[in-house]
């Protein structure tokens, strides 16, 4: 197993190099020069020249890439113009909020998707199944940024159950404050998980060991809870892994709306203030995060289901 994990890690090397290359190209395709873009039109020629020297923009392009690669390998991911700090330091301050939304929204998604997927699978092709499917179609059709405001209007401004945004002190208060943004991300994730889990459940119901369990005289709900559900959940883990990119992307939108000082807000603020090293470093960091989560879910999947072999 350890050997296999090591091999997987080794296979990540070209992917990680590719990711840094794309992050690097991002600033190369930009019209004009990075220094001009960042400093605006009012900068003097000397200031621009200083900037270029500081960033190594006067070097040949391959050396510029190697400089960026060094920044990634040493873990700084570049230095912010606006905050005058390493990108990784900014990430460190904000990552906990983003991870909290990712975790909470995944939990919310499971709590919503589990009962509906089970009901839909047990009542396959009957009215309940169709109603659930169409309800999730409506859910997917709601744009998250709009849904955020509708929930703020309803649950915060009208009913006063939740604050309209921001973060506070302590776990309890932050859970309360992060609930609405997590709900928005969780609802769209729930729709994806529900579809996958329903299909997995229907598949598992046809398995031989389910017939065996029935022949043994186990009750229906016992078979469902002890045999069908756990086995279907395993394959759903890998889907959550594949979809983690989508979940992380979704946090960008809600963080800005609910004023959560996470990575998404950092990205949007960097775009608005044209803090190019942050845009680049953060984009690369996001992709690396996705790759690592994918790897972890693959390993968990293999541990949970011995039939699966990691290649």
């Amino acid at each position: 197993m350890i050997q296999v994990i090591f091999k997987r890690l080794l296979m990540l090397v070209p992917v990680l190099i590719g990711i840094t290359l794309i992050g690097f190209l991002l600033l190369q395709v930009m019209p004009g020069d990075a220094a001009e873009r960042a400093m605006g039109t009012r900068a003097s020629a000397e200031e621009l020249a200083d900037m270029r020297r500081l960033w190594g923009l006067d070097l040949p392009i391959w050396q510029q890439y190697l400089l960026f690669l060094r920044d990634c390998l040493t873990g700084s991911f570049g230095v912010s113009i606006f905050h005058k700090k390493a990108v990784i330091a900014l990430v460190g301050e904000r990552l906990p909020f983003t991870l909290a939304i990712v975790a909470l929204s995944t939990l919310i998604a499971l709590v919503i998707a589990l009962p509906f997927a089970s009901l839909a699978a047990m009542r396959r092709d009957r009215p309940a199944d169709h109603v659930i499917r169409q309800a999730f179609v409506v859910l997917i059709a709601m744009p998250p940024f709009w849904l955020s405001y509708v929930l703020i209007l309803w649950l915060s401004l009208t009913l006063g159950w939740f604050p309209t945004g921001g973060v506070g002190q302590g776990l309890a208060e932050n859970l309360h404050r992060l609930f609405l943004p997590s709900l928005v991300v969780g609802l769209s994730t729930a729709a994806l998980i529900q579809q996958t889990l329903r299909a997995a459940l229907i598949d598992t119901m046809k398995a031989d060991y389910v017939d065996t369990a029935r022949a043994k005289g186990l009750r229906r709900h016992e078979i469902f809870l002890r045999h069908i559900l756990p086995n279907s959940l395993i394959s759903t883990i890998s889907i959550i892994g594949v979809r983690v990119s989508w979940i992380i992307g979704g946090t960008v939108v809600v963080e800005k709306i609910f004023s959560v000082p996470g990575l998404g807000s950092l990205l949007i603020d960097a775009i608005v203030s044209r803090d190019l090293p942050v845009i680049r470093g953060l984009t690369v960091f996001f992709a690396i995060m996705v790759v690592i989560v994918n790897l972890i879910t693959d390993i968990l999947y293999a541990l949970a289901d011995p039939r699966v072999r990691l290649e």
Binding site: P143, T283, V290
Partner: protein, 273 residues
Amino acid sequence: MRILKDLLRSPAGALGLGMLALTLLATLLTPLLSPYDPFALDFGNTLLPPSQAHWFGTDNFGRDIFTRVMAGAVYDLRLALICVFGPMAFGVMIGLISGFFGGRIDAALMRLTDIVWAFPFYVLVLAIVGVLGPSEANLYIAFFIVNWIGYARIVRGETLLIGRLEFIEATRVLRFGKAQIMLRHILPNAVTPALVYSMSDVVLTVQAVAALSFFGLGVQPPAPEWGLLIVESIDYMREAPWMTIAPGLAIVWIGIAFSLLGEGLSVALKPKG
């Protein structure tokens, strides 16, 4: 024509097509349905709730929201369709080439898709538009860079499967040209799942286009784009919630229509017999 018939026979497909036809009809008939101009200011009638005269109410400048939402339909649908079907055409060709020729071309192209796939969708689109600057043209560039990947992967997989089928073997034995085999025999079959996928892509792209203008990174005001209508409404959300709700419901309506259409297409395009 046969596909359209099959599509209309499935309840989801018929409903989705009907919803879209109704939307197009409504945008064409807007001048007849509403006497207002989507841009004309009317300070005597600001923030009016929905009524007989103003179906969706009016905004802070007294503009009729129904008229603006309808103008937005033309705008948003055009943006979303370009952002989906442009990259789709490219992705389908790449997938076809990758799957058909295999070998090194295939390995290189698939590694490329792996790498681009690692970037979260919103992060990459925001970063590209953020670096290039907000404009409609840059919006197309960003979506093009991101959206072709899904199609390339789907079509490559299908091409690999179809390439092994007997009727393709037959074309090889008959010494048909490579281009002919690819375009005339594999493509029509391989493109089907991509077409189904494109429908759910439209749903997400309509939302993403609106989200970008919402952050000030997409279409710029005073265009009657749905995302912009929602941004403009936020300061008046308490007094005039219809300003926020109406354009959002328009996005939801289009989303449901394309989801149903996708469901219908997946039934209609399924190989028979």
